[in-house]
Symmetry: C2
Subunit: 205 residues, 2 copies
């Protein structure tokens, strides 16, 4: 019997994820600009990306900003810079509580060996993704583990409660400006990460 981590099973797993990536691209489910980044990461032989977000600005209707899908609703989403009028429009609707969230790029990847995972973690931290870690050790299937790459470039701020609007007018303009700057900083770090991942080639291919 072959080991669960043999080359063939790993290739099958990687093929599976890469073809869903292609499907997502075809139906435009992929974040704008994500394809090039994901293809570069997946060019490491012992790595396959399983889900990703290049960073985004959302407005969430939820009691708390971390609520799961069942208890919260994304009422606005943008992967690009936003302006205060878009936000004011959402805030004016009959929705509450509302939170403005800027999240940095998040990439999940399945990795074949601990050596490769460890090297990617080191590179990720150095590239400004200090909230990265191995989030699960895989006991079944090929590969050693699943990595989450995450950065602290975020903002989580209340816009409105059931008692009314918190941020408005000139203040909203400032908050939106900060949100855009934070989104851009995430992108900058993503670019630097993808470049630096070249250093992982000796460990992951």
């Amino acid at each position: 019997m072959r080991s669960r981590n043999d080359v063939e099973s790993w290739h099958r797993l990687k093929e599976k994820y890469l073809s869903s990536l292609l499907e997502e691209r075809l139906v435009s489910y992929l974040d704008p600009g994500a394809e090039e980044i994901l293809l570069k990461i997946n060019s490491l032989r012992d790595v396959v990306t399983t889900s990703s977000c290049i960073g985004r600005i959302t407005i969430v209707e939820a009691k708390f900003p971390w609520e799961r899908r069942e208890e919260s609703r994304i009422v606005f989403k943008s992967h690009y810079q936003i302006n205060e009028f878009e936000v004011a429009l959402v805030v004016s609707r009959d929705l509450s509580p509302l939170w403005l969230k800027v999240t940095g790029p998040i990439i999940h990847m399945r990795v074949r060996s601990l050596d490769c995972a460890s090297k990617i973690l080191e590179i990720a931290r150095r590239s400004g993704f200090k909230h990265s870690g191995i989030i699960s050790i895989d006991r079944e299937g090929p590969g050693c583990c699943t990595l989450e790459i995450n950065s602290p470039t975020q903002m989580i701020t209340p816009l409105k409660t059931s008692r009314g609007v918190i941020v408005r007018g000139q203040d909203l303009k400032i908050v939106v400006k900060l949100a855009n700057e934070i989104l851009l900083e995430g992108r900058r770090r993503l670019k630097s990460l993808v470049n630096n991942l070249e250093e992982a080639r000796g460990f992951c291919s």
Copy 2:
């Protein structure tokens, strides 16, 4: 030659961290209420906590809320609930930009085996610490790796920029109320985590 992961070296490492824990307690560096929690976690034979925070509310003077120590300054810190007067006082000082941050409990632990780390990760996620992961694989010294336990119970909101105050009056009162609720939710999850860690005993001791 003994392996680097032998019982004796592990004990020495654990002793080292436990004695600094005792020192921190003696000089009151330890977060209030942390001791009981840390002792419970350290009662797992193959685990030793290396640093921890039980969750806190801070006001940070920095361009961005994630800036490192050199580029930012904590101008207010509380491990307890706060009120709007304390915050207003800080905001009234000649400081900017200011960010209000609520961070959930964060615990770093060195773990002896991947089996133990994997079990703790699973328990942590189930207890509401979904931002947890193995942040480094230790190539030197005893133990397999370092775990970070972290929760999404947080808020990161701008209070003031160089152009003036963003959140004031009644709005500040609401933001402070939210901050206190988020702090409490972190504590609730910490309690649940510590209870659930009993399940790790079979894997970590």
